[in-house]
Amino acid sequence: MTIMNMKKRMKKISALRRKRIAGPILVVAALFTIGTAFGVASALPSAQQTPASATSPLVSQGKAIFLRGCSSCHGLNAEGGSIAPALIGVGGAAVDFQVGTGRMPMADMSMQAMQKKPLYDPAQTAALAAYISSLAPGPASVTNENLNWERDGNIAQGGQLFRTNCAMCHNFAGQGGALTNGKYAPSLMGVEPKYVYEAMVTGPQSMPKFTDATITPQEKLSIISWLQSANHEQNQGGASLGRVGPFTEGLVAWTLAIGLLIGVSTWLALKAK
């Protein structure tokens, strides 16, 4: 190839560049490249979770349960409806929390889903979780065993995080509290660590979602450690009176204490006769 030839070729390319069609072609090419790169990247195993193959038996079992028990409100393809949210992308964690604690299927739509005896056993719950996570990636469900809260959690740090982020609804000792219009933050006493973790990452009912950027996984384990410690802490100083603050203390003063004292007064006044 001569230099002349090359120059001619360059001219041809630059002429092409100036044509009107050049812009749109470039945009399409760029989109194709980025799209392909993104597709490859998201197909890589990530921290989020690998959606099980859409054809795995677990998924089809989960889909069968879903169609029977959940689709009347959440839609045939979990796309949601007028009375229930879409479940695409909520992840296995949300399913494990909501179904595992018996909140879903919901018994009563008036206030909020309440904890009750679970309708589905752990295997069925896992199948449901697999089906929901096959629809789109989301936070994966966890197990009590793979949460190393005893090793990685710091109780004192957890207490501070709890008082900053959780106590405003769940009370200083995790006893639960009232929200507006009959909604409530439930008591956290006796709740399994994995459900606490899943609630934090999925934000069920009125609860905000605490992403790993807001509260890191290690901090979440600290919160669980503190809750476990509060749950098992013996009551210093006698009966706890419900750990709800001075309300019950006042009740005791107005019933037991003054009752005893008035009783004794009456007895003393009687004896003098």
């Binding site: 900053t164 210093q236 006698g238 603050g245 203390e249 009740l251 204490a257 003098a272």
Partner: protein, 534 residues
């Protein structure tokens, strides 16, 4: 005893007599002691409510002194390294850390803290129940109006003292309370923000508030209490105790037992019983578990934050206040704080303070009274008292609306609306019902005197008629049930010239309402019935 000059024969007796003579020769104490040790007090269980207040105050002084040995009233930052591990390594104020130290590292410290706090609750409950007794029996009437005023003072200072006391540990709950107190200060129009800056020595929370509160809590207010309680008791001593009506009991005498030995023994024993009840609660029931609340940080708050009960009604009023706020000439007036936390309590306390004078103005009764009223015999006053209690209970219930909501599965908004409406509608209904109940009880008394007690024995007469046998009640009981003043017998009914104008008309209307009564059974009625009775 000294003037009888009976010489003791035993060795101990001689020693005691010698000591008594020694004191008498120098202080002239025999006459004083004789007069005062023989002082007569009437006996009734409700007269011991004031004693409960006094004894819990003594317990508060003793246990409080113990607490001061370890408590450090400072807001400087420390890192906790004590025995309570869930907080180890947490940064907190020295006040909070020293309270933790007091609770977990000082022998008997937690028990003392709990005794102190329970004694405070019992102190306030006993003051309020004592107030009920004084109010419903009319013990505040002439000549005891001044003692009523002192009592109101003690109640007011008690509320403040209690609030300041539980604010000291600087825990998350009490810090929230101090924040609300700051908001109330700021709600005072125009000068509020300056006052708050003055109280906190700068912006909230600052570092000077707790040291200041400490001085007021352990020095200023206790001194004030001591002074007021002393005057309160001296006046009871000087004016003599009131007594319930009964045979032989008159406005001019006191029927009861002497201080020595009866009341000395009783009061001494009762002190230990009050201490016992307080110590029992301190030992078995946790109170103000500050380690669970955590240290105070303005960025944190707990659901269901409550004040102690004697502040709870204020909290309830604030919680139910509608969100009203006006901006005027560069000043913000927060009516939602100002009205429920300052204006309304102000009105309530002013009304309570002046009640003895208001009632005397309405009734026109300015005579001295040493015989108590049976509550049913003054229906208007009793109804007013019941109405005030209903108001307070509703306000208090809303103060705990979140706890009630979670524990009874109710909606917090529903409770708020119930109390918002109930605050205005329930007290009048309670007034009407109480007044009717009082009048019915008067009617029942009248029946009891005229027709005797229902025995529940049914007898069939030969004619086939069934009757219930009524047994006449004792003459003493008859006297007690009929002795009360009838309105017609008031010495000086309101003079005509006092009843002109709107004020006079109002006074006349209130006087009529005050005097509504079922006439007590009279002797002639009794005699008339006696002739025709079976």
């Amino acid at each position: 005893m000294a003037d009888k000059k009976t010489s003791p024969t035993t060795r101990t007796g001689k020693l005691a007599a010698g000591a008594a003579n020694y004191a008498d020769d120098r202080l002239g104490s025999a006459g004083y002691l004789k007069k005062n040790l023989n002082k007569i007090f009437p006996d009734h269980w409700s007269f011991m409510l004031g004693e409960v207040c006094l004894y819990s105050f003594v317990i508060l002084l003793l246990s409080g002194t113990f607490l001061t040995f370890w408590f450090d009233p400072s807001q400087r930052d420390v890192v906790y390294q004590g025995a309570y591990t869930p907080l180890s390594g947490v940064s907190m104020s020295a006040a909070y850390a020293s309270t933790l130290h007091l609770s977990f590292d000082v022998r008997g410290g937690l028990l003392m803290r709990q005794i102190h706090h329970w004694a405070a609750l019992i102190f306030m409950v006993a003051i309020v129940v004592h107030l009920f007794r004084v109010f419903f029996t009319g013990a505040f009437r002439k000549p005891r109006e001044t003692n009523w005023l002192i009592g109101i003072g003690l109640l007011t200072f008690g509320i403040i003292e209690g609030f300041l006391g539980y604010s000291l540990p600087d825990d998350l709950l009490s810090g929230t309370g101090i924040r609300i107190a700051e908001a109330i200060l700021q709600a005072i129009p125009v000068v509020g923000s300056y006052l708050a800056f003055f109280a906190f020595g700068g912006p909230f929370p600052g570092t000077s508030f707790i040291p200041r509160v400490y001085m007021v809590h352990i020095l200023l207010l206790p001194a004030l209490f001591l002074a007021l309680i002393t005057v309160h008791l001296m006046m009871v001593w000087y004016q003599k105790h009131t007594q319930f009506p009964g045979p032989g009991r008159k406005e001019s005498n006191v029927v009861g037992y002497p201080l020595m030995p009866v009341y000395m023994a009783k009061a001494g024993g009762f002190f230990f019983i009050v201490f016992g009840v307080t110590a029992f609660l301190g030992a078995v029931a946790s109170i103000n578990p500050i380690w669970l609340y955590g240290p105070y940080t303005p960025g944190q708050i707990s659901a269901g934050s409550q004040p102690d009960w004697y502040m709870g009604w204020l909290d309830g009023l604030v919680r139910m206040a509608p969100p009203l706020e006006t901006h005027w000439l560069g000043h913000t007036i927060s009516w939602n704080i100002l009205l429920p936390s300052l204006v309304l309590p102000g009105l309530i306390f002013v009304g309570m303070t002046f009640y003895p004078f208001i009632e005397a103005w309405i009734s026109g009764d300015h005579r001295e009274h040493h015989l108590l009223d049976r509550p049913r015999n003054v229906p208007n006053r009793t109804a007013l008292g019941a109405m005030s209690i209903a108001f307070m209970v509703i306000a208090l219930a809303n103060g705990g609306n979140d706890i009630i909501a979670t524990h009874f599965h109710l909606t917090i908004n529903g409770i708020m609306w119930f109390t918002r409406i109930g605050l205005f509608t329930v007290p009048p209904i309670v007034f009407i019902i109480t007044k009717r109940v009082c009048l019915s009880l008067q009617r029942a008394d009248r029946d009891l005197v005229l027709h005797g007690r229902e025995t529940g024995r049914l007898v069939m007469l030969p004619s086939g008629e069934m009757i219930e046998v009524h047994e006449p009640i004792s003459d003493a009981r008859k006297w007690t049930l009929t002795q009360h003043q009838q309105p017609e017998a008031l010495p000086a009914p309101l003079p005509e010239e006092a009843l002109v104008g709107w004020k006079g008309k109002l006074r006349k209307r209130m006087n009529e309402a005050h005097n509504v009564q079922v006439p007590a059974a009279t002797l002639s009625e009794l005699k008339e019935l006696g002739d025709s009775h079976h």
